[in-house]
């Protein structure tokens, strides 16, 4: 019986393919793509102001609302934060990734790899919470500055308009530090992968031809590993763009995209406006992914 079924299936590879691919594909098309389409459709609806119900007729009202100065400010602020976090993470990640790829012994490499990926998978919320503790007014960072009598430096940083606030745990600079911390592993892993692929012979050739370490780094290592940096930046950029937890927990009253979406759909119940708002990050990310693919970042993933 099983043998006959086995032979039957063996002769019909297309049927087997259908059986294998069918369930996951149907699930994805129905649940995920279906939802994305529902989102798109909703962004063309509007909310009846008095009843608070969604009116299902075509309008571009929501998209027009995106171009008010408040909302453009939200997009600008979020994109600015995403860019700053991406650059900072690239700088912090490179030495560690380079050390793991080039200098660690195979055994050490395994442990370092695990040391980098454990934070990547462990609880995002708890790690955000850790920074709430560290950056609190009465917390470790303040204590540290006080210890060396540097309280005035901290106060100076916090009084800078635009990035400061009443305490580190309620300021854009605190958010920036937390974002950098949370997404750092996403930057290290692809850079390390890209660095592993840089052929040793090229480095030897470079130094044989008289380049010093800095020149080799700038002209050989950096260009060859750059796709890894771009691959990592997809995550740091996209994740910062869509996050509403960190701005909610550590930010001030100036909204980020994620918070705006969250509050429009939640308290206001305005799904159409929330949906139109989400199209911003979707368009930005799709453009980013296309550029990244051009730069060869997908091979480094």
């Amino acid at each position: 019986m099983l043998n006959r079924l086995s032979t039957y299936l063996y002769q019909r590879p297309k049927l087997v393919l259908g059986l294998l691919l069918g369930p996951p594909l149907i699930y994805f098309l129905v649940v995920y793509i279906g939802s994305l389409l529902a989102l798109l459709v909703n962004s063309f609806f509007r909310l009846e102001e008095f009843t608070g119900l969604v009116v299902r007729e075509f309008t571009l009202e929501q998209y027009a609302k995106l171009f008010t100065s408040t909302n453009l400010g939200i997009f600008g602020r979020t994109a600015g934060m995403a860019i700053a976090v991406t650059i900072a993470d690239g700088i912090i990640a490179f030495p560690l990734a380079y050390y793991i790829a080039r200098f660690a012994s195979p055994r050490m490499k395994t442990y370092l790899y695990i040391a980098v990926t454990i934070p990547l998978w462990s609880s995002y919320l708890v790690r955000v919470y850790a920074w709430k503790l560290i950056l609190a007014k009465e917390g470790i960072v303040s204590w540290f500055f006080n210890l060396f009598g540097l309280q005035f430096v901290l106060d100076g940083i916090l009084s800078i308009p635009g990035i400061g606030g009443s305490s580190l745990s309620l300021s854009p600079i605190g958010m920036f530090i937390t974002f950098c911390y949370i997404w750092l592993p996403y930057m290290i892993v692809p850079i390390q992968t890209a660095l592993e692929r840089v052929p040793k012979s090229l480095l030897e050739a470079s130094s044989d031809l008289g380049a010093n370490a800095a020149q080799t780094f700038r002209n050989v290592i950096l260009p060859l590993s750059f796709p890894g940096v771009v691959a990592g930046s997809i995550f740091t950029f996209s994740l910062t763009l869509g996050d509403f937890i960190i701005p909610q927990v550590l930010g001030n009253s100036r909204f980020f995209i994620g918070q705006a979406v969250y509050s429009y759909q939640g308290t206001a119940g305005n799904i159409p406006l929330a949906a139109a708002f989400t199209m911003g990050p979707i368009v930005i990310m799709i453009a980013y992914l296309l550029i990244a693919r051009k730069m060869g970042a997908f091979d480094a993933l």
Binding site: P24, A115, S123, L125
Partner: protein
Amino acid sequence: MPSKNYGEKASLGLTLGAIGGLLFLHVPIAIIFLYSFTTDEATYSFPLPGVTTKWFGVALQRADLWAALTLSLRVAVVATIAALILGTLAAAAVYRSNFFGREAISFLLVLPIALPGIVTGIALRSAIGTMNIPFSYWTIIIGHATFCIVVVYNNVLARFRRMQGSQIEASMDLGANSFQTFRYVILPNMATALLAGGMLAFALSFDEVIVTTFTAGQQSTLPIWIFSQLVRPRDRPVTNVVASIVILITFLPIFLAQRISAQSSETEGGAK
């Protein structure tokens, strides 16, 4: 192999940079554990005013915490099983056949984690709303399975690519039918990849918060409980304890999964 570096040593600056990066990644997690022993109930003061273990006992007594933990575990288990089945099927299809749109499958599956979480969340939310489906345990699971599939898929597909096709051919030549080959050759080869993918999917689901806030309705998973405490801290000492417990619960599956994938790439790199 990149590990041979002709007797070269890392420069001091590089070593310090690497150590700094590692400390930056791990010290905050250590601080969480430290704070779960504080006697301070109202602030996050440092140095700790005193040390106590009583908050662990208090946390264990909390019914709302147990309910949230149970819900999180039930969601994570079912989402992981769904992801294991669907992810493995997709990986098998992509590995064994060359079909139109094959490249698009990987792209499609990775979308829920490549696009910001809020996109997946609000998309599911608007679909659930449009179809008037009530929020429930199952809407949470559907959301979680969506982004867990890709984790299993990646792990299993990588293993398929590493597996030697000759083993399958040998099994068939020796008279095994497809099912026997699957049972005795493919499955044992896949076992650790399934384990690693499953554990990562579990960890991912267990502490997911962004998508969950959009698909949960009134129910509270453990991450949602923590999130509400983050926004409006009411039980600081209990939250500190819960944070430590969450790290401990997820540490083991994550560590084992990473160990498995690190080991299998080592054996691949070795002489085979």
